[in-house]
Amino acid sequence: MNINLTLIGQSITFAVFVWFCYAYVWPPLVNALAERKKQISEGLAAAERGQHEQELAEKRAAEHLKEAKGQASEIIVQAQKRASEIVDEAKDDARTEADRIKIGADAEIAQEINRAREDLRQQVAILAIAGAEKILKQEVNAEAHASTLSALAEQL
């Protein structure tokens, strides 16, 4: 309980310790803390920036996707239209072709009919001549009645 030199010794010791702490211990520790604080805040800011960029990128990607979808559906619509057009065209072509073929066939048929009729006519003329010859056996001169007969054949 006695107050003695210890008092002064303690005061000096205290002063020395405080000075040492002030000079050598405190600054590096506080600097390290401040440095870390800065790094962390920078890291957080970077992370936030990255997140923001990601959001933007996602938004852009969504836009691209939407655009592509629109384009695709447009292409599909066009393709469908084109396909139906092609079908229509093909139908038209086929119809015209069919008509053409029909017309050709009709013409041929008409020709055949004419030819058959011609043949028939000539055979009829021959038959008529032959018949007339038989009837007029002796008298009829083929050459003298030829024009009459051909005129007759024309009328058939």
Partner: protein
Amino acid sequence: MSGDTQQTAAQYIQHHLQNMTYGKFPEGHDLAGQWGLAHDAAEAKAMGFMAIHVDTMFWSIFLGALFLFLFKKVANTATSGVPGGMQNFVEMIVEFVDSSVKSTFTGRNPFVAPMALTIFVWVFLINFMDLMPVDWIPGAVGWMGHQFFGMDPHHVYFKVVPSTDPNATFGMALSVFMLTLFYSFKQKGLIGFVGELTLHPFSSNNIVLKLAFIPINFVLEFVALIAKPLSLSLRLYGNMFAGEMIFILIALMYGGGWIAGIFGGFMQLGWAIFHILIITLQAYIFMTLTIVYMDLAYQTNEDH
């Protein structure tokens, strides 16, 4: 109880409350004029001011050096990257002290925060010695004194907790007081400082009244000024002394047979656990009050 021969309880307590005192023997002693260790409380008292408490000085310097060594080691390798366990621990304390200083101290002084850190950790370590079983270190020192120096172990006194020595707490408080006075002068100048002591808390616009108030103000403010270091040191000393005393009283129970001994063991455990709170709190209070006093020294325009 320590010692070969039986001590009374009073002797045991007194033995534990006596510092190892190295000083100049007073007139009338066999060794008058020489320096040496006091053999008992009366001799230590007779030495007066020209004596030093070896145990107090040893433990306070040892613990302060331990604190500075550990923190310096961490400070040397401190990185801003991922901290290791020790660095984490040190940084936790530094952050805690730093935020305390920042929230309380409004002036600009790079000296305050390191001082607060030193006070906090140092006082904590000093107080922590209180948790050591009361007979361990004094017993070991008594044994050493007997073995190596041929001393009577009953005359080897050793107090382990420096903060139970008023010299230690007054010494620290005195340093803090000097610093607050120094910065008060530096911030306010002599006139400002004297004005703070004499023109508050009573003041008047009437010059005669103002002069009349000066002595009253001075008495009030001077008491308030002196009360700061006194209360700062006595609070720590009182708390730690009382805690130490209770540990000693509990230790007395070990001499009272098996049942008292076992009961004493539980008492010691309980008190030690409670004491962890006290030693931390006292270190924190000492630090915080120091910061507050420094802050007061920096407040230039006081308007009451």
